[in-house]
Symmetry: C2
Subunit: 137 residues, 2 copies
């Protein structure tokens, strides 16, 4: 039983957003990235919908943020996977009831008007996951 409904987006942390968008276009033929800023997270981003999943490139402005620290520690590459849920509050309640990884429990504004909540899964699963409400946007 899970409240997860989809793979909503996959984030890749990159150093230079424009250069990375060009590289994705040139090397993989993936075109049509849309740009967006998320100053409260300290990142510039670009997204592309492909195969029912958003591929999101995230470029931190400095090292003083979660994506920035990840970039510094691991270099460019996969950052996190976000599962879609119908109702964020309900999904978080389920995680709390299960007694596992509710993360901070704080719902925050994500990229592109997405409402998101982090899950503290790095220790248990070795990868970062979070939740996004409204899996179709």
């Amino acid at each position: 039983m899970t409240q997860l409904t989809s793979i909503h987006h996959i984030n890749f942390v990159v150093k230079d957003l424009q250069a990375s968008v060009c590289a994705y276009e040139t090397t993989l033929g993936l075109t049509g990235f849309e740009y967006s800023e998320l100053p409260e997270r300290g990142v510039s981003t670009a997204r592309l919908r492909f195969g029912g999943v958003w591929l999101v490139l995230v470029s931190p402005h400095n090292e003083d943020s979660v994506p920035g620290r990840h970039l510094k520690k691991y270099g460019e590459g996969f950052f996190l996977l976000s599962f879609g849920v119908d109702d964020l509050e309900e999904a978080l309640s389920e995680f709390v009831e299960r007694g596992t990884i509710p993360g901070s429990g704080i719902i925050r504004q994500g990229l592109f008007e997405w409402r998101v909540a982090d899950l503290d899964t790095s220790a248990a699963l070795g990868a970062m996951f979070h939740l996004t409400e409204n899996a179709t946007d």
Copy 2:
């Protein structure tokens, strides 16, 4: 223009396969993983189809393999993303024509009877990608 048709699977490298499957079940409520061995790659694996994408846990038997080296260098977490293609030979030809990242160009047996080909994208894109033929399997 791209030959890519889907996000076929996402691989996560893990230390202990059984423990990781349990952790995914417990923490995320994702159940129904199928196990499979791929001795020529030196890994044990488990996969789950979710949201139209295969989530695959890959546990290297030792450090003397691509997944093993990745685990040693970065620890557990995201390993690679594989795009689905209709025809692997045709897709590889396109990459060669584009003059970019044909990888080794070698088509090999992947997990679960999948035919795959690696793309040498780590330098250009900071993440590892490859191709899998027959996106619905």
